[in-house]
Symmetry: C2
Subunit: 187 residues, 2 copies
């Protein structure tokens, strides 16, 4: 089983090393991890961003499943590129797995950066008066329920690990879930 390894990990200073660690964990479980190409492209080329897109789309099309790192990125929600890729894989009917190294629920995450209050209707709103989803889920319901229905429940640690960008415990749990499915498929 080939697994597309989506996440803002590609933006880390040691992005290539993290990709190697993730691929090695996949290999230990009999799976092949495909790591996005963002760091294998000449960024000074005029069409660098398009080359990354086309490479990543081809890699997703070749994969049977996705493991998405949905740890909050520059705000209360996951990285937009990763979320796009999760949606794309769900749309293609592939198996969807994901983890977040931040177990806090969405309303709590929003309250870290915005003034969350109760509107007259009793629901939560932010500074702009826009509703804050309050279903006790870690992120937007579309992402959470697609995992429930098209893969497995999102994996979160009981406590936020010390190094939120390098701890791969929850990632490895996703790899195990994928490996169980791979065995189920071939058996």
């Amino acid at each position: 089983m080939k697994i597309y390894l989506a996440g803002p990990d590609v933006f880390l200073p040691d992005a290539i090393e993290i990709g190697r660690r993730k691929a090695a964990i996949c290999a230990r479980h009999g799976l092949t991890g495909l790591y996005p190409l963002d760091n294998a492209v000449d960024l000074s080329a005029a069409d660098a961003s398009l080359a990354i897109f086309e490479g990543n789309e081809a890699m997703m099309d070749a994969a049977d499943a996705i493991i998405a790192n949905l740890t909050p990125f520059r705000g209360p929600s996951a990285d937009a590129g990763t979320v796009y890729e999760l949606g794309y894989m769900a749309g293609r009917g592939k198996l969807c797995f994901a983890y977040s190294n931040d177990p806090a629920d969405y309303a709590e995450r929003v309250a870290r950066s915005f003034a969350v209050t109760k509107a007259s209707g009793g629901h939560l709103i932010d500074d702009d008066g826009l509703t804050v989803e309050d279903f006790g889920l870690p992120d937007n319901l579309m992402m959470i329920h697609t995992l429930d229905l098209h893969g497995a429940r999102m994996v979160t640690p009981r406590q936020r690990p010390l190094d939120i960008w390098h701890d791969l415990t929850s990632f490895e749990t996703c790899v195990r879930l994928a490996a169980d499915r791979a065995i189920g498929k071939s058996g």
Copy 2:
């Protein structure tokens, strides 16, 4: 042509009214707008979030295209739920259109909320040392290029409108682009 109308518009205090306005604009151009169900579900029910997910997924499956509102939402990027839906529709091979009422490029958006500096390699990084995409695009490259390849270039106004959540000028441009494709398809 049926168009799924994705966006954080569902979180506005006047969400239902905005949905009506968007559907009316679609109708004027001979198209059918399908507005997400978030506001048609009993939020006190135990499975409210799942009911919204299932309703929205069925609506996306019934649609031929998506028009996504990718205006930045609680951070430099678009609303995660909307981004998920854009990915899902791209994965299903549907036509993809989108607009953002904020024309600023991504690095500029990040710099509004985070300390962006140059790393020793010359690329931009945020407070955490994570790379800030700097391709002159308004948001993450995966979303921008999927529009270029599976629909039309993202629509942005020359200037940010006064009311970023209610101005539907760029939305109507997307509807026109979709209507042109609908005529091309049947002609």
